[in-house]
């Protein structure tokens, strides 16, 4: 059964991010230099296909409801990765009236990848750690 952890489907949601982390995420997947497809990853267009949820942005008041909706739609077992400092702890936006974060208010965050933005290699590290946790979750489910 450990073979199935080699096919994680990724879904990313931007909760009011400045797009820095989104660019890095797109970079890790798209460009030849940091290819995540060799780990078996694939970006999907729907949270219902996803195994690993990548969240960027500090969860603004406007985007909160969409985030909660996406979290409801994820099939079990799933792993949540907070990419960037913003979803991890809200970082420099921590005291703003428009911020409803951090992410662990809404869901158990399994891996944090701080950085503003994190390096692509750090994101790959985060995905690799998420895979380990996902393996554990599958074992616990059985």
């Amino acid at each position: 059964m450990s073979i199935i952890t080699r096919s994680p489907f990724l879904f990313r949601i931007n909760t009011g991010s400045c797009n820095g982390c989104d660019v890095e995420l797109a970079t890790t997947a798209m460009i030849p230099r940091y290819d995540v497809e060799r780990l078996g990853c694939r970006y999907t267009g729907s949270p219902k296909h996803a195994d690993i949820l990548l969240v960027t942005g500090p969860i603004t008041a406007r985007s909160k409801s969409y985030l909660v909706e996406v979290l409801d739609e994820l099939p079990n077992p799933f792993v949540v990765v907070a990419v960037g400092t913003c979803p991890t702890s809200c970082g420099i936006f921590r005291d703003s009236y428009a911020i409803e974060g951090p992410l662990d208010k809404y869901v158990q965050v399994d891996v944090n990848v701080p950085g503003c933005p994190p390096r692509p290699q750090a994101i790959i590290d985060g995905v690799a750690k998420a895979l380990e946790i996902w393996k554990q979750k599958i074992r616990n489910q059985k």
Partner: protein, 167 residues
Amino acid sequence: MSGFLKIAIRNLLKGPVTDPYPFGKTFIPEKLRGKLKVDASICTACGTCQEVCPSGAIYIKKENDVYVHTTWYNTCCFCGNCEFFCPTGAIKLTNDFHTANTKEEKFKFVTIAAISEKECPVCGNKFVPATLPLIEKSYPHINDEIKNLMKLCPECRKKAAFERLYQ
């Protein structure tokens, strides 16, 4: 389209250029702003870094005789303000980018530096002495007298300075 085709065929012939990162080495720039390193022997626990940090990642707390300088990376935005404003040059950003951490490690993912107080040789009070890099910035020529004064606590230093004036 023919341009794309040319590039695609060239890529196919040249082979992949993918970084072997999780399984191999990767390129790290020299000046990458990663985790910080605090040199506790130079730091004077002045609190400038705590003041200038935009994300509130640095926290200095006094415990008994020791100032504990804590940096929590999960809120750090790696802007480098602490390095820029540090009067002594004790804080340096390294190019270590490994920031991914699990939820158990979330609040343990810190760098801790302990700056211990020293005892004044005259009165016995505890204080954090100014360090040599800081003094080098303010005085062009450092002689033994200045070095001796450095070891005294602020009160004793005042006394010593006045005594020198009256003599």
